[in-house]
């Protein structure tokens, strides 16, 4: 039995027609205001990486499972692959590039990750740091279990989480 396979049944997608006209958005990223015309389908993570040009926020999956793209949207950690860029219009965004001081002094969470060997390949790390800082804002003195549960949306393949948990607990002790 022959089968013809085309994933987009029906008429061709014409980029500009079907997906809507570009929309202008203005966002503040790490204290700097940006205005761009974006496709309505553009994800926030793609906007940050490709339009704003900040590539510290990584993409690790396509199902909002891994958390590598976590950033702060209006002060709270979100997976930026689950937010459309147009939804972030007017928002205040902080990415990993906005965590250290201008003089290069690491944020206490970044410092805790360094001191506790909470990273190896470093690909999940920006998202992990953003999620962990948000976690401590909600719960400044978490137990080990609360850290583990609080970070369950962020996957790491290198560390086995042992030193990530240790890093976050150390940051909490340091009052990060």
């Amino acid at each position: 039995m022959m089968v013809t396979w085309r994933r987009t049944a029906g008429s061709l997608i014409h980029h500009d027609e079907h997906l809507g006209a570009p929309v202008e958005i203005t966002v503040t990223v790490n204290g700097t205001q940006h205005t761009h015309d974006v496709e309505p389908r553009l994800l926030l993570v793609q906007y940050i990486r490709e339009h704003v040009g900040l590539t510290g926020t990584n993409i690790g999956c396509d199902t909002s499972s891994c958390g590598a793209c976590s950033l702060h949207l209006n002060g709270e950690a979100v997976k930026s692959c689950t937010v459309l860029a147009v939804q972030a219009d007017g928002a205040d965004i902080r990415t990993i590039e906005g965590m250290a001081d201008a003089d290069g002094t690491l944020h206490p969470m970044q410092q805790a990750f360094m001191e506790n060997h909470g990273l190896q390949c470093g690909y999940c790390t920006p998202g992990m740091v953003m999620a962990a800082t948000s976690l401590l804002q909600e719960n400044p003195n978490p137990t080990e279990d609360e850290v583990r549960i609080g970070l369950e949306g962020n996957l790491c393949r290198c560390t086995g989480y042992h030193n990530i948990v240790k890093s976050v607990l150390a940051a909490a002790s340091a009052g990060a």
Binding site: M1, M2, V3, T4, W5, R6, T8, L12, I13, H14, H15, D16, R41, R49, L54, T55, G56, T57, N58, I59, G60, C61, D62, T63, S65, C66, T95, I96, E97, A100, L106, F113, M114, E115, H117, L119, Q120, C121, G122, Y123, T125, P126, E144, D145, V147, R148, I149, L151, E152, L155, C156, R157, C158, T159, G160, Y161, H162, N163, I164, V165
Partner: protein
């Protein structure tokens, strides 16, 4: 061997917990992964992948895709056929008659797994390229798929019909003191066990999916390939061969790489496509793998059925072993696919003193599934799993404690160097010590007592204690041994140490780190040798123009081969500096010693010259000994005389809820002896991560295919890479048995945790359930699997049934 002091020459750098140099750029988002590169004018490549596991391609209509705005080109396999000078490379023809059907980056007539490339699009953006592949019409004529190893062996359906069989090779290793020794041992044995284990396929899931950027130079034909790989050096050679590109015009760079675990130890279709098409179009070509693509288009690991037979005397001492493997190659051979199960062939006896009565055979078979290849441990976790599970089965058969059975069979410290029945020489070990440390950490006897109290009739929360011990054959590898295994490359590693005029040091290494911290560890080795600050050392790597010689990073080889090469290059550069120092100090070379970064006349410590002064003198070359070349630089290529043999004992304590099948890991203890530790912080991190990957094989992960060959776990929502909340903290113990094979006394540690963990966890689960009649549980031991195992053992056929 005994614990000795580390080999530090006095600065105390080696053995310290120096924080990693790699971290700041990774922590601030400044690190550049391949996908982060900004490449003006690049065409984005997307691959249309087969939705069928086994089909003939009848026709492909690319016209609609080609007309879409922003699409630059659309190619089918037939369109690209002229670009390939040779098929995709396999570097390990394990037998003379191994069947290896040629395959190319894009299929032409037939597809053989879900994910096989069928056509490619080049477009102005990634989004347009993906839109366009959806507009390609392909007509397939599907046929039955081979998805089960035993079905594959039957040749009911042939993956590659022109081969006439699904069996690629059978590789045998029969070692007998006299003919028939294995069978006689089994005939005479007081105890035997015969076990069958399944190593489920695993998806490596490095957090960074693969990414490729190929950039042609405007003139001259040179091309630079940036790719998320573990093997820039090997890749350069293989691309030259496969594309017919002059090797001297190729530069391969591995930028920041987000994990590999073996999955980036390969030559991939997309790397060849990007290079070939950037040459053809004269523009940069880039490709980013999606996670769902990664699950099917990047290699998978494991995939074996193991039959394991042990013979033992009345005391439980092993007398013979028979191993029969069926190994899943997948649809095609990738770079070292056929050799992976054979890396385990030499380790089935584990840490035990097995006489020359060993019968191993492995049959590699094709299936209509994603190709398999190296995944953390690569053959050695599988071997360790089989022997360690079988030792527990034997302990149950005999009726003794599993740790006691192991102790009766350990190779004893005084037997090292120990020539194993396979002919390989284990350089050092102290298994009883590692086991004792682990037993103390988990409080072995107290746990056994708790089990006796808790695991009583009717108890639904049962304690299990699992033990596993291992030897790992790593530090790949002596080139002559690789030759004897018919592997197509050597196992050496290169290093250059260059002392700059201002006494800062550049180290060039042929290893290619992707999370292992080589920049830090190599700096520590050099700092220790030269008596300088690690901050004054820069480690250059992963770029074939900057580091032209290398064999890259895999098989826990980087420190015991590459790190040792760095150390040897330091020795060589010190020897040269010493000649200059002797000349300037008007002393005899033999009277000089190099201590704490300065040359001293032995016995006259007041007379000294610092290395920094020699470095500047070597640079000015105003006053060098006759015949000595200016500058302080030394290169070493080190071919290790033996493998590296780390070992250890892991123990795991679980509580299993027999009503839900849930496993709670209460404690995990790992004692890994990797010889001298350059940086314990990094060693511990390697073990932590390795243990959790092994634990994940035991409890969570498995590539789940339906009978049509569709992967049902193709996303991170379906494939259970554990999160922090799914895994326990890990208690580490340490024994240090320095390797006598190399001057640093070091052994590899990258894969150790993974090797020890899966059998420790599974032994614990089976131990918890043994009182209910459960003898084995399949991996991954999901709640459903465990519940069914208990139900089956208790002859409960339906939920709610009675015992």
């Amino acid at each position: 061997m005994t614990i000795t002091e580390d080999p530090s020459t006095g600065t105390g750098v080696i053995g310290s917990r120096l924080l990693r140099k790699e971290d700041p750029v990774l922590l601030t988002g400044e690190a550049v992964f391949t996908n982060d590169m900004k490449v003006p004018g690049a065409f984005h490549l997307a691959v249309l992948r087969s939705p069928y596991a086994h089909a003939t391609i009848v026709s492909i209509d690319t016209s609609a895709a080609a007309e879409m705005p922003g699409v630059r080109a659309v190619y089918t396999g037939a369109d690209l056929a002229d670009l390939w000078a040779a098929p995709m490379p396999c570097a390990w023809a394990v037998t003379e008659d191994m069947l290896n059907p040629p395959h190319h980056p894009i299929a032409t007539d037939a597809v053989n797994f879900v994910g096989d490339g069928v056509a490619v699009v080049l477009a102005d953006s990634d989004a347009i390229a993906h839109d366009a592949i959806d507009a390609i019409d392909v007509t397939y004529d599907p046929s039955d798929a081979v998805t089960d190893l035993e079905d594959a062996l039957s040749d009911r359906v042939l993956v590659h019909s022109d081969l006439g069989t699904n069996t690629s090779y059978t590789w045998n290793l029969l070692i007998e003191e006299t003919d028939g020794a294995v069978q006689r041992a089994f005939d005479k044995a007081a105890h035997t066990v015969s076990e069958r284990y399944v190593q489920q396929r695993l998806i490596p899931m490095a957090m960074e999916p693969r990414a490729v950027v190929a950039i042609p130079q405007p003139f001259g034909g040179d091309i630079t390939l940036y790719t998320s790989t573990q093997i820039p050096h090997v890749l350069k050679v293989m691309i030259a061969v496969t594309l017919g590109v002059p090797e001297h015009q190729l530069r391969v760079v591995a930028p920041a790489v987000g994990g590999g675990f073996g999955s980036k130890l390969d030559v991939y279709a997309e790397e060849l496509l990007c290079v070939a098409l950037s040459r053809k179009h004269g523009v940069p070509i880039r490709w980013n793998e999606t996670r769902s693509e990664n699950a099917v288009a990047t290699i998978q690991g494991r995939g074996q059925i193991q039959r394991m037979e042990l013979a033992a005397d009345a005391n439980g001492k092993l007398t013979a072993m028979r191993v029969r493997l069926t190994a899943d190659m997948g649809a095609y051979m990738q770079l070292i696919t056929p050799g992976i199960p054979l890396l385990g062939a030499f380790l089935y006896a584990g840490v035990y003193d097995l006489p020359k009565a060993y019968d191993f055979s492995c049959t590699g078979v094709f299936t209509n599934l994603t190709p398999t290849d190296a995944y953390r441990g690569a053959g050695r976790p599988e071997a360790t799993y089989a022997i360690e599970r079988a030792m527990d089965a034997l302990a149950t058969e005999i009726g003794i404690d599993p740790l006691e059975l192991r102790r009766r069979n350990f190779i004893q410290p005084e037997q090292f160097p120990y020539e194993a029945c396979t002919g390989l020489v284990y350089d050092s070990g102290d298994h009883d010590k590692a086991a004792t440390i682990a037993a103390d950490l988990i409080d072995y006897q107290a746990v056994r007592a708790r089990q006796a109290t808790q695991n009583v009739a009717g108890s639904t929360r049962r304690l299990g204690l699992g033990v596993s011990t291992y030897f790992e054959m790593c530090g790949l590898a002596p080139s002559r041994v690789l030759a004897s295994l018919n592997y197509s490359a050597g196992g050496w590693e290169a290093a250059t140490v260059r002392i700059l005029p201002t006494a800062k040091v550049q180290v060039v290494t042929g290893t290619s780190p992707h999370g292992q911290g080589h920049e830090t560890s190599w700096s520590m080795i050099v700092a220790d040798k030269l008596g300088i600050d690690p901050a004054d050392v820069d480690v250059l790597h992963s770029d074939t123009t900057i580091a032209p010689l290398g064999m890259d990073t895999y098989g826990s080889r980087s420190l015991p081969v590459g790190g040792v090469a760095v150390s040897m290059a330091c020795d060589k550069v010190i020897e040269k500096a010493k000649q200059i120092a002797a000349h300037q100090m008007e002393a005899n070379v033999d009277d000089l010693e190099f201590v704490d970064g300065e040359f001293r006349v032995t016995g006259t410590p007041s007379k000294s010259t610092p290395l920094a002064a020699i470095a500047f003198a070597a640079f000015t070359a105003h006053d060098l000994p006759d015949g000595l070349e200016p500058n302080l630089e030394a290169q070493v290529t080190y071919d290790p005389p033996n493998f590296s043999w780390p070992f250890g004992t892991h123990m795991c304590l679980v509580e299993v809820d027999t009503e839900t099948g849930d496993v709670d890991v209460l404690q995990y203890v790992a004692v890994d002896d990797c010889g001298n530790q350059v940086n314990p912080l990094i060693v511990e991190g390697q073990v932590h991560g390795g243990v959790i990957q092994g634990l994940a094989q035991a409890l969570y992960e498995g590539a789940d295919y339906d009978t049509d060959g569709n992967l049902r776990t193709s996303t991170l929502a379906d494939y259970l890479v554990p999160a922090a909340s799914d895994v326990p903290p890990i208690t580490l113990g340490r024994s240090v048995t320095p390797s006598p094979t190399n001057s640093l006394g070091v052994k590899g540690v990258g894969e150790a945790g993974t090797i020890g963990a899966a059998p420790a966890v599974m032994n614990a689960i089976v131990d918890a359930l043994s009182g209910l009649g459960v003898r084995d549980v399949a991996m991954p031991a999901s709640p459903n699997t465990i519940w069914n195992a208990v139900a089956s053992a208790q002859s409960i056929t339906t939920p709610g049934g009675t015992q």
